[in-house]
Symmetry: C2
DNA sequence: GCGGATATGATTGACGTACCTCATTTTGCC
DNA sequence: GGCAAAATGAGGTACGTCAATCATATCCGC
């Protein structure tokens, strides 16, 4: 005998199909005692609702929104592409995904986006934005409307988001540090760090992890104060250039944030292309090229494709009230060398 | 208007539902001209068959077999667990997965397993076994029966398998080499290599990749002849022990195969636990512990969970005649340090 | 034990596809 | 032009679930 159906439940519980349906779909008008009888039959027979039949019957489509910053960076671009790819693939699974680019630093614009999401009756939202009280509250409000919410890249730890899709940035910083330290092989020297801005939580966390490992494991290396590139190539090039010109014994640079083109430019202009140990974040067109040419030694990557698919899967699972495979949804800190470039 | 249905196709093509059905399901008895008319309408309207409705109607279940070696190793154990986990998750997607453990070195037993698979009317097979002409032919025969076939871990490059789920072992060897070399930081010394057996293609490939990078990039390091551990802890411990005792200036070991427990035992017994650079393959309970304690420095991993899920997804896509997301099915060469342990 | 509210039953028609039967039309061939 | 074979049409039932209607049964307070 195959999987039990609603008919089997009805028979087993001694009620009619209509009542089973009312119970399964949480409709009113059933006595508690009867509800219990049905629930009992469900667990006794091990009934699981056939989701595809259910979705077919109710003509269901899942509507998700990916809320991304409107700033541009190669990583964001890659993420956007990855979401589009996932969108195409999930079309067959009744999912409609829309990408909204919003000035996430602007609370008014951000809230307006959420208003539109709420008004449109969206089933789930993946939001990438830095943590603010306003956003936290807004996520709470979405949850009261039964909208699934996942935090993307940057966690919203004190909010009611259902899930975080991204990496542990402290661990990423530690990973960058240990690679830098071991590649240095005992030599003494200085290490520079470039970030977008120390206002961003991810950057701070990476720096914390980096410093901790450096302090514990590599006393031969001196980590210098953070340079801020403000997401801008020219700016990054300038600060890194000044840094290189005024420090003679630099042996490595950790680029925890964007602006990588400025960094490589500064290095190449000084003929340091393959002299320094350079660890950077996120595999993009540019960092891939720099890895291949040897300007960058290691890329610490959070896989954009994996992130996009994972977010979509988690949102769908949340809507369906189904468990996810934890290990599949764990975003790994990928270490990419020229030799294991995908 | 929503997605087009078979009714729309029938109307658009000016034929009846029955004919559309015959065309879509490749049934006989339709003139070529009519087939073309229907196909035309399909592409004109952008019709895609609703797979869940179709599967519902035909009460379809996908039956897959994972054919794994009956030898035991921690990696195989992890893979087995991963397949079971995937099985549970895919239960909801109408997939029944069975794991068969077979003595893959024994052609008779292997062929018997294939016979059973063929007789049982299985929809797809994921096979992990070394490449032989017998196996190649058998895969070809399966393909004539419309059974989906993927090669697992070890490719069957000249067979008609639909897909290979695993890593590029030459690249893995290169990756191991560059990490060993850079961790050595210019020091001179000897590097030992441990494998199961040089009969296995994966081992040979890893060794090739390792040697090439070492030869090109690290003239300060001397790679010594391969030690064969034959998948056995005691054996591995003995050969590694002898190696360590008779070579004074060993600074690193690359463990390309199984038997890791023997390796770590040999190292620890000589107080070399954290003295040597040790690069090993595959994240298991044991290698995780060794990584945490510092005996092993790097694990090159092929993610068992990813492999199991990917194989199942590819088999299903093959049965459905659907494309896979290439980037999702690319098994990455993971570099695992203590700092980025998942 | 009556009346009104509340629970439950019985039934039906979707959803999009598969697959079957039987009738009818068209085709190819001599 | 006639005939068999092939192609097509028309229609129905099924898959498991949802959602609705309407009739009937059971409950509760008085």
């Amino acid at each position: 005998m195959g999987k039990p159906t609603v008919h089997d439940i009805a028979r087993e519980a001694g009620v009619s199909l209509a009542t089973v349906d009312r119970v399964l779909n949480d409709r009113a008008g059933v006595r508690e005692k009867t509800v219990a009888r049905v629930r009992d039959a469900v667990s006794r027979l091990g009934y699981v609702r056939d989701l595809s039949a259910a979705n077919l019957a109710r003509q269901r489509r899942y509507r998700f929104v990916f809320l991304l910053p409107d700033t541009t960076s190669q990583f964001l671009h890659a993420l956007h592409d990855a979401v589009l790819e996932a969108t195409a693939a999930l079309q067959l699974d009744r999912c409609d995904i829309e990408v909204m680019h919003v000035s996430v630093g602007d609370p008014v614009a951000l809230m307006a986006a959420f208003d539109r999401i709420e008004a449109a009756g969206i089933d789930g939202v993946a939001v990438m934005a830095s943590e603010t009280p306003v956003l936290r509250d807004r996520i709470g409000r979405l949850k009261t409307q039964d909208v699934a919410v996942v935090a993307l890249i940057t966690d919203q730890p004190n909010s009611e988001r259902d899930h975080f899709v991204g990496i542990d940035n402290v661990a990423a910083g530690r990973t960058a540090a240990v690679l830098t330290g071991r590649f240095a092989g005992g030599r003494e020297g200085k290490i520079g760090i470039v970030v977008n801005s120390m206002m961003a939580r991810d950057m701070v966390e990476r720096r914390i992890g980096f410093d901790r490992v450096m302090g514990e494991g590599f006393p031969n290396l001196t980590v210098l104060p953070t340079m801020e590139g403000r997401d801008d190539h020219a700016m990054t090039e300038r600060v890194v250039g000044q840094f290189l010109d005024s420090n003679s014994d630099v042996i490595g640079i950790y680029c925890a944030g964007a602006g990588m083109r400025g960094l490589t430019k500064a290095l190449e202009d000084r003929g340091l292309g393959d002299k320094l140990i350079v660890v950077a974040h996120d595999l993009t067109q540019h960092s891939r090229a720099a890895l291949e040419s040897g300007v960058i030694d290691v890329v610490i990557n959070q896989n954009a494709g994996h992130i996009a698919r994972s977010a979509a899967r988690v949102l769908k699972a949340q809507c369906d009230g189904v468990d996810v495979i934890a290990s599949q949804e764990k975003i790994r800190i990928e270490i990419v060398l020229r030799e294991n470039l995908p």
